[in-house]
Symmetry: C2
Subunit: 214 residues, 2 copies
C-alpha cells in the first residue's frame, strides 16, 4: 500500500510504526496485540499493512513449502505458538492454518483503510481475533463484511460486485510496496527506516524507540 | 554428540542447558556470550553441542541457499547482525561468512569434549571469538590447534593423523543426534525437553527457567 493511500491519523506528524503482517501468521496476531500499546508509549501511530506472505515466500524467498510442512521446523512452530500465546496471556484457539485464506480479509482491509485508517485498525483486530482466538477464519467476502460491521464500518457499502476488483488491486499493490521496502516476513515493523522482523523483536523495537537507535 | 560422550560437570545433577550451534552463525556467537551467565543464574551447566547447520538446511529443511543469498532476507540479516552486536555491546568484526568453514573447528571441539567438557567450553568461546570478533576464521587443523593451546588444552596431543578420522565421526554423530532431538536452527537451547530457537529467545528461556515453565 502506498503511503498516499492511507489516511493518516498521526499522534505526532510523521511519527509512525509501520506494521506489516499477513492475517494468517500467528506471530502477526501476537504482535497485533502488543503493537498499539508500544506505539502509544512512544507517541506514535501504527499503520497497518497487510501483505500476501505466501506470494512473497514463493516469489522472493524461493520457499514453496508452508512453514508447518517443513521437517523439524514445522513441529517446533506448532508447539511454539501455543507456548508464546500462554506467555503473552493471549487467547489462542485458531482454526487449522490450511482452512484460512487470508486474501479476502486483506483485500477488504485495504478497502476500509482507503476511507478510514482507524476503522481499518479495528477491522484488522477483528480478523486476527476471529481466526486465531475464536477459530473462525473469515474466508468469504460475507464473513469479512460481518466483521467489518462489528468493527463499526458501514459494511452495507462494501459490495463485492462494486469494490471487489479495486480491493484486489489495492492488496496486490500493498504486497508489491512491502517487498519494495524490503519486507519478507510476518510480522515486520519499520520505524524511521529501521526494520525489525519477528514478534520476539518487540522488546528490541521498544528499546530502539526509547533510545532513538544505537 | 551422545550425552554419554560428554564428561558432565554439573552444578546440580541433571540441571543442564543444552546449547546447539554452528560456529558460523553470528546469532550462535551472540548466544554464546550470554548463555553461561544465564545458566549460572539458574544453577545450571551449559552443554555445548556443535552441529553442521549447512547439512541440516540442505538435508532436512530443503534449503540450498545460504541465508545471506536469500533475496530480501539476506539484506536484512546482514544489517541486523551489526545492530544486534551493538545492542549487546559485543565485539563484532567477522571475516566474510564464505571464508569460514566451521567443520574442522567443530570436529576438534568434539574431540576436546571427550576428555574435558570445561576445556571444550573454553575452546568453543575461542573459536567464536576468533571468527566473529577478530575476523580470523580457524579453518585448518593447525588454526584450531592454536586456539586449543590458547584455551589451556594439551594441543600437542591433538594430532590430525591420529585423531582426525575419529573427530570427523564424532561431529557427524553430533549432527545426527541434534536432528534426532528436533534441532533445525542455530542457536537452539533445550532445557528439560523444552526447545527454544534463536538468540532473541534468551529472555523467554530465562523466564521459563525462573517459573519452571508456564
Amino acid at each position: 500500500m502506498s503511503d498516499g493511500a492511507v489516511p493518516v491519523v498521526a499522534t505526532q506528524a510523521g511519527k509512525f510504526i509501520d506494521f506489516h503482517f499477513d492475517f494468517i501468521s500467528p506471530y502477526g496476531y501476537f504482535a497485533s496485540r502488543q503493537i498499539e500499546s508500544l506505539a502509544a508509549r512512544h507517541g506514535r501511530t501504527v499503520r497497518w499493512h497487510p501483505f500476501h506472505m505466501r506470494a512473497v515466500m514463493k516469489d522472493m524467498l524461493g520457499m514453496t513449502q508452508a512453514m508447518a510442512d517443513v521437517p523439524l521446523k514445522g513441529a517446533y512452530v506448532r508447539k511454539d505458538v501455543h507456548r508464546m500465546a500462554r506467555w503473552l496471556e493471549l487467547p489462542y484457539a485458531p482454526a487449522p492454518t490450511a482452512s484460512f485464506s487470508s486474501v479476502t480479509a486483506s483485500r477488504m482491509l485495504c478497502l476500509i483503510q482507503e476511507a478510514d485508517a482507524f476503522a481499518g485498525a479495528r477491522f484488522a483486530h477483528a480478523v486476527f481475533h476471529s481466526h486465531h482466538a475464536l477459530g473462525r477464519p473469515p474466508n468469504s467476502w460475507t464473513d469479512a463484511q460481518a466483521l467489518a460491521a462489528q468493527s463499526g464500518v458501514d459494511a452495507a457499502s462494501l459490495v463485492e460486485d462494486e469494490h471487489g476488483e479495486h480491493a484486489r488491486d489495492l492488496f496486490r499493490q500493498a504486497t508489491a510496496d512491502a517487498v519494495a521496502k524490503g519486507v519478507w516476513g510476518t510480522p515486520t515493523f519499520i520505524v524511521d527506516g529501521e526494520m525489525f522482523w519477528g514478534c520476539d523483536r518487540i522488546v528490541q523495537l521498544d528499546e530502539w524507540l526509547r533510545h532513538g537507535g544505537w
